[in-house]
């Protein structure tokens, strides 16, 4: 007997992600999902962003790693709420893991929650966690062929941060090719060239992020 089904295989995760999103919306909390390959600079970007925006908005961070709490310790030194998730092998975070952290936060004290996903250019793009938007980092040491090799993540992201531009003189990577290839896959992608090492380009990212939070109705201090 044949049964016609037509069901999205990821529906269970999508449903939990929607529930998470409803909770974030109710608390007036903006959430973004930060993705990249291992070592592209996710935690460094967060350290810089926390310092750059500490007078303007109240941030919290969920750190996703397969193992260890080193990233959470780095964020905790900045004096903001952080929860470490160890996936114990899983290559991505999902809606359920994010939901399990809720009791460790007081969302009333936060304007922005960042979910730092497991370093991986493939799997995290497939799983919603309840975010408002996705941000990805590509560092120039990874090469300009990454958009065409990993199209899903570039397609799903709202922002692409091209990091480590201080290393451009030492690597064979053409930044215009990265941009051109990324825009083919996602013509509406917002891109910033940055260096978390020197701080170059970060002000434009901070301004964009402040505006993104403000445009969702969150009242920012300081401005």
């Amino acid at each position: 007997m044949k049964i016609s089904v037509v069901k999205n295989i990821l529906e269970a995760n999508d449903r939990i992600a929607q529930e998470n999103r409803a909770i974030f919306d109710k608390k007036g909390l903006v959430v973004f999902n930060l993705m990249s390959s291992p070592g592209a600079g996710k935690t460094s970007l967060l350290e810089k962003t926390i310092d750059g925006l500490k007078d303007h908005l109240r941030m919290g961070v969920i750190e996703g790693d397969i193992q260890s709490s080193q990233d959470a310790e780095r964020i905790a030194r900045r004096g903001i709420p952080v929860v470490q998730i160890n996936t114990g092998g899983a290559c991505h975070l999902d809606g359920n893991m994010i939901r399990d952290t809720f009791e460790d936060f007081n969302f009333d004290d936060l304007d922005l929650l960042v979910v730092e996903n497991v370093g991986n250019l493939v799997c995290p793009a497939e799983f919603q966690v309840g975010e408002d938007f996705k941000v990805m980092i590509l560092s120039v040491t990874e090469g300009a062929d990454k958009p065409s090799k990993y199209p899903l993540m570039f397609h799903e992201s709202k922002v692409l941060l091209i990091n480590k531009i201080d290393l451009l003189p030492y690597v064979d990577c053409d930044i215009q090719t990265i941009k051109k290839e990324a825009l083919k896959i996602n013509p509406h992608l917002t891109m910033f060239e940055i260096s978390c090492k020197t701080g170059e380009g970060l002000d434009a990212w901070y301004s964009w992020l402040k505006e993104a939070v403000r445009s969702r109705g969150v009242d920012l201090k300081g401005k």
């Binding site: 007997m1 295989i9 397609h155 083919k184």
Partner: protein
Amino acid sequence: MHEMSIAQSLIDILREEMAKHNAGTLRSVRLHIGQLSAIVPDSLSFCFEVMTSGTELEGAGLIMETIPLKGTCRDCKQTFEIQDYTFECPECASTEIDTIAGQDLSIVEMEVD
């Protein structure tokens, strides 16, 4: 290797559907795998086989069909196949494209006894 998580979600849905239809044996299941989804069919097959081994689902065939990426242009309403992951209308060069196929991961049919 998120195929393990995908296989688990798939098995959960299959069990639910089989109970709903009072089915005892799963012969095969047909999946549509969007071209843009980051699934490797061979890995999914492997995970499915390992995870169903020794269960009532053991031996079920997994038939996977890759669904090409298709879009509709919001400006000229043209529907077209998105080639080379380039989200641009081949008719009017607009980049206002709605993806209408090739992104999802879905079960479309099960054969049961």
